[in-house]
């Protein structure tokens, strides 16, 4: 109707369309009429793809003791489209449920998102060997019923629940994030099981079976040419000493708190106790969800991974770090002495101290945990003229403390690690105004109170750094992966910004703590232990008792931190627990002299009902 010079192009376009359609019809003619092979293929070409689940990697401790292994479980799957015309009542009876139960379960299955009547749906999960054995023969008779073998976890030791973690049905999120998973699969949900999920899970296999038009299995497709064997997951050797872990959990029984023990020369975590704890086998199998709900409702929070996630003011244990920073900055030398008149007094401000001789040098200030010493030292650093202003001074201080492993996540292989908190200049500038504050304003930092927060793992890591005289390896729970390598970040040495020569006097002070200081009661005769007590102020109740230690003094094998919440002074509870752990680890047993201490601790119940 509209005249234009391209009128004839309508024919070109029409011709293209006709040509394409003609080619398609010819192709269809060849597929549907000429070529008879498709018809043949169709007659033996209904597949059943059966996933074969790999066995999950095993977990052993550092001495080769098997901790976590697998047991079989059987999921009863139903393909609704194929489950035609079978006796519902007989089927329900076989599984020991009622017909009403059966109808209810089918209703739930059909309402699930992604439901398809052609793919196997999970009807009943995790039958044990004992439950499955008697019914296995009978199930064969029902059309459209398949049994999917899976592996569940079983535990030789009922310890380290949070560190090991558990496996559970994958969430929608996990399925979307990773093609590996299908609805109903299991995957690590926390702890080592989560961090090392990809190592432990292996690779799924697949078996392709042929079915006839009624859905009966007729054999393997092309003799299993396309089948894939599952590749089992890799076994992991943990750095944990499971016997030490068990002992720690027993000692912490009836107390709220944590133990973190590290091998200083490698960063390998020897024990990671969170108390109160629970039996990891509670979260296996069909009782998992009920138990999980009960644990999450428990007011004592057994699911809270205290050594990794609890954050406390480190209290007097932090004085060792202060002693290092003050020396490095040239504020004090081992011979610097400060007086103490039952505390630190400056105008209206007072920080109390307990009775001891005065003045003290650096070594003895650690031994007696003198508050005044660190208030004086810290104040003279922050207000020192060698820095441009207080902001620069606190940032120099902060960088040293961070190099000792505080303020950021250490990067351990346990999920949900917390970073603690170390304030910097901008924090105080925001509160008090640009440089309108001085050493006195923030004096509580000097004794590990106030804004500073640390996790028990970070405190243990400080012990390891002092034990090593200046460096640490990122704490980690995995020692070896069979047929794999551990993350390179775990074999990278982190040097502190403090010169190694400044560590010796701190080590000596910590030794004095055990010989004649606040840790005397918990001393071990045969081992040179270096320790430091601490008390974390708790605004909500009785203070938390903290102890940090390493042993032996030379060539240390273990560094440890113990926190007992609401138990008061560090020497009373945390210190004996730490030295018992050290003795157990280094000697294997507790001598007679200290049996009564062990007994007292095992029996003590500090949790108010």
């Amino acid at each position: 109707m509209i005249n234009d010079s391209n009128d004839n192009r309508r024919y070109t376009i029409s011709l293209i369309m006709v040509a394409v359609c003609l080619i398609y019809i010819i192709r269809l003619f060849s597929i549907q009429i000429v070529d008879k092979s498709y018809l043949e293929q169709s007659q033996n070409n209904a597949y059943l793809r059966k996933v074969i689940y790999p066995s999950r990697g095993l977990l052993t401790d550092r001495n080769g003791r098997l901790i976590v292994f697998n047991k079989s479980a059987y999921d009863i799957m139903i393909v609704p489209r194929e489950a035609r015309g079978f006796d519902t009542l007989a089927f329900a009876n076989t599984l020991g449920i009622t017909k009403a139960d059966f109808i209810k379960r089918m209703g739930i299955i059909k309402r699930k998102s992604g439901y398809s009547p052609y793919v196997p749906q999970l009807f009943m999960s995790q039958l044990s060997d004992e439950e499955y054995g008697p019914v296995s023969e009978k199930l064969y008779k029902f059309n459209g019923i398949y049994v999917q073998k899976r592996t569940l976890r079983e535990y030789n030791y009922h310890n380290a629940a949070l560190a090991l973690g558990s496996i559970g049905e994958v969430s929608k999120k996990q399925i979307e994030a990773d093609d590996f998973y299908q609805q109903g699969d299991y995957a690590g949900q926390n702890g080592i099981e989560l961090t090392y999920e990809k190592v432990l899970r292996g690779e799924k296999g697949e078996e392709i079976l042929l079915r006839d038009s009624r859905g009966r299995v007729k054999g393997k497709y092309e003799d299993g040419k396309y089948d894939k064997k599952p590749v089992p997951g890799k076994d992991i050797e943990l750095s944990l000493d499971i016997e030490l872990q068990k002992y720690g959990e027993e000692l912490m029984n009836g107390k709220i708190g944590s133990i973190a023990a590290i091998e200083p020369s490698t960063g390998e975590i020897l024990a990671l106790v969170s108390s109160p704890t629970y039996d990891p086998s509670m979260l296996v199998g069909r009782k998992r969800s009920a138990n999980f709900a009960a644990l999450s409702k428990d007011p004592l929070k057994p699911l809270f991974d205290r050594p990794m996630m609890a954050q406390y003011p480190p209290g007097s244990t932090f004085k060792t770090a202060q002693a290092l920073v003050l020396q490095q900055e040239g504020i004090i030398t081992p011979n610097t002495a400060y007086g103490c008149q039952h505390g630190f007094h400056a105008g209206a401000l007072s920080v109390g101290c307990h009775g001891h001789e005065s003045p003290l040098n650096l070594k003895h200030s650690i031994q007696h945990s003198c508050n005044a010493y660190y208030c004086c030292g810290f104040r003279s650093m922050i207000d020192n003229r060698k820095y441009k202003n207080v902001s620069e001074a606190i940032d120099v201080w902060k960088n040293h403390i961070v190099s000792l492993g505080f303020g950021y996540k250490l990067g351990a292989d346990v999920p949900n690690e917390k970073r603690g908190y170390i304030p910097n200049s901008s924090v105080y500038n925001k509160i008090y105004g640009e440089n309108r504050w001085k050493g006195l304003t923030i004096i509580s930092l000097s004794i590990g109170q106030g804004e500073v927060l640390a996790t028990p793992l970070q405190i243990a890591n400080l012990g390891a750094t002092i034990a090593n005289r200046g460096y640490f390896y990122t704490p980690h729970l995995v020692k070896k992966i069979k047929g794999g390598e551990i993350d390179s970040s775990f074999i990278t040495r982190h040097n502190s910004t403090i010169d190694p020569k400044y560590y010796d006097v701190v080590v000596e002070g910590m030794e004095l703590v055990m010989i004649s200081g606040t840790g005397y009661y918990s001393r071990i005769d045969s081992i040179a232990v270096c320790g430091k007590t601490g008390t974390a102020e708790n605004p909500h109740g009785k203070d938390h008792s903290i102890f940090m230690a390493f042993a032996p003094k030379d060539d240390p094998k273990i560094a440890i931190s113990v926190v007992v919440e609401n138990s008061g002074f560090g020497a009373t509870w945390a210190a004996p627990i730490a030295t018992l752990m050290i003795e157990k680890y280094l000697k294997g047993e507790i001598p007679k002299r200290r049996k009564h201490i062990e007994q007292r601790l095992l029996e003590a119940n500090l949790i108010k009902e």
Binding site: I13, Y24, K110, P117
Partner: protein, 490 residues
């Protein structure tokens, strides 16, 4: 009903309506076949996809009726506004849409999920028609050309970002419309060549020409043959230079005849690609000499095309194997249906061809298809719905569907050509082109002729978004057509 509406109903093209209804009904029957279950036990509550589709169809009827009632002027007046709205909606969707198997294209509002990308096609067609029919528009103005291309590419790129490459590619169909409006056919030819050469170079890049002689590349070989054939056709059509065509054809045929004889009877391992290079080289030299002797640029350009094709083949082969990461390679291979293990799209195509092939002449009968039911092809009632047609209704059914679509497309072209308004004509061509692209790619994929690109078969595939968007696309044109005598819109 007032007079105007009555008038419109009288002027509606009943052929198109009839074809639309027939295709929708056939589509629903196929979905019914794909998802129906025989069991009627009291507790099996089977998926009701065919039931839902019936609801979508009902809604489509309402949508169609409303579109026919609306004043025809709003489509021209609001074309830019509608386009702008959909561009914003596409961007919003990209930002807020949840991750659905890697794609961010679904707007979820409670129980309803919609795919704005489907509807944006209509908006783009309206906008393109409006722009190209505006006063003073000419294919010779560079600035206008740029705007025209932007109208097509902006929504396309957003949809690519949403990870719906298939939907986005459908916009390329609009180049057919540009061709109708005067764009040189060379663009179309080069575009098709580039796509075909790319696919061929990757798909056959590692295949030897002759099994016994490794190291040669069938992909490159095929590209050379295609380039020579296209070049010779161009020489023939533009210059009627029979001598050149004859010379090169005879050279090529005799070279290969000798080559095959030598290879078969004398057992000499000839490199066939060298023969192809000889043919290509001679052709280029001949073209250049003609260009100089006759002072015709065209010869020169054709020789550039031949050389460029060979270069393009090498570059895409190199880029694919050397520059792309292995996982990117895999993704493209999957899209091209080259991952022939039983799990990926290759499996789906293999299965769908078995299903179609087993239908034979008359099919297994309604609801009798076993292939499409027993085994599990995920897109059974969406992208692979054509399988069900093939299996249950055989060659007769599939041919009927193909012919039905062809009739619809040709009818749309003839309707477009009878428009008095340029806007309506361009829009009509847009509708025909988009339907053509979908039909060609979807059916081609199911019968193993085109790459596996996930786009729906118009009016057939399950899903509200797809059915409604095609209904809207089509009925706006029918409304325009019904008023063709009343309004001279420019």
């Amino acid at each position: 009903m007032d007079r105007r509406n009555e008038n419109i109903l009288n002027n509606i093209d009943i052929w198109t309506i009839g074809l639309y209804i027939a295709l929708v009904i056939f589509g629903w029957v196929s979905i019914y076949g794909a998802s129906y279950n025989f069991d009627d036990s009291d507790f099996w509550d089977f998926s009701q996809r065919f039931g839902k589709q019936l609801v979508w169809i009902g809604c489509s009827v309402v949508i169609a009726a409303v579109l026919l009632m609306l004043d025809v002027k709003i489509y021209t007046t609001l074309a830019y506004v509608i386009y702008g709205f959909f561009i914003i909606l596409l961007i919003v969707t990209l930002l807020v849409a949840p991750d659905t198997r890697g794609s961010h294209s679904w707007l979820v509002m409670g129980p309803i999920s919609l795919q704005p990308a489907e509807f944006a096609k209509t908006a783009t067609c309206l906008c393109l028609a409006k722009y190209m029919s505006s006063y003073g528009f000419t294919m010779k103005n560079i600035r206008q050309m740029v705007v025209m291309c932007l109208i097509i590419f902006v929504p396309m790129l957003i949809i690519v970002a949403q990870n719906e490459t298939g939907s986005a590619l459908a916009y390329l169909a609009l180049f057919l419309v540009l061709y109708r409006q005067g764009m040189t056919g060379i663009v179309l030819l080069l575009g098709v060549c580039a796509a075909v050469f790319f696919v061929v170079s990757i798909r056959f890049g590692a295949t030897p020409i002759v099994d016994s002689i490794p190291g040669e590349n069938l992909g490159m070989f095929a590209i050379m043959i295609m380039a020579v054939v296209i070049a010779l056709s161009m020489v023939y059509f533009y210059y009627k230079d029979k001598t050149l065509v004859k010379t090169i054809s005879i050279l090529g045929v005799s070279l290969f005849a000798v080559g095959i004889i030598v290879y078969n009877y004398l057992d000499v391992k000839i490199k066939f690609s060298y023969l192809a290079y000889i043919v290509v080289g001679s052709l280029i030299l001949y073209l250049l000499s003609q260009a100089i002797r006759q002072r015709k640029w065209g010869y020169f350009l054709i020789s550039i095309f031949v050389a460029g094709s060979i270069g393009f083949g090498h570059v895409s082969d190199y880029a694919f194997n050397k520059i792309l990461q292995p996982h990117q390679q895999t993704r493209i291979k999957v899209t091209l249906g080259m991952e022939n293990d039983l799990k990926k799209s290759g499996y789906n195509v293999n299965q769908s061809m078995i299903a179609i092939g087993s239908g034979r002449l008359t099919g297994k009968g309604f609801l009798q298809g076993t292939q499409t039911k027993l085994k599990y092809v995920p897109e059974q009632d969406t992208d692979f719905i054509f399988c069900t047609v093939g299996e249950e209704h055989g060659f007769i059914g599939t041919t009927a569907v193909v012919v039905g679509f062809l009739a619809l497309m040709l009818r749309l072209i003839s309707l477009a050509e009878r428009q008095r308004s340029l806007f309506s004509r361009i829009y009509g061509y847009c509708v025909a082109s988009i339907i053509f692209f979908h039909v060609a790619i979807n059916i081609g994929m199911v019968i193993g002729l085109t790459p596996v690109i996930g786009i729906p078969l118009p009016f057939f595939s399950y899903g509200g978004s797809s059915l409604w968007s095609f209904t809207i696309l089509l009925f706006i044109f029918l409304r325009l057509d019904a008023s063709r005598k009343e309004y001279m819109m420019e």
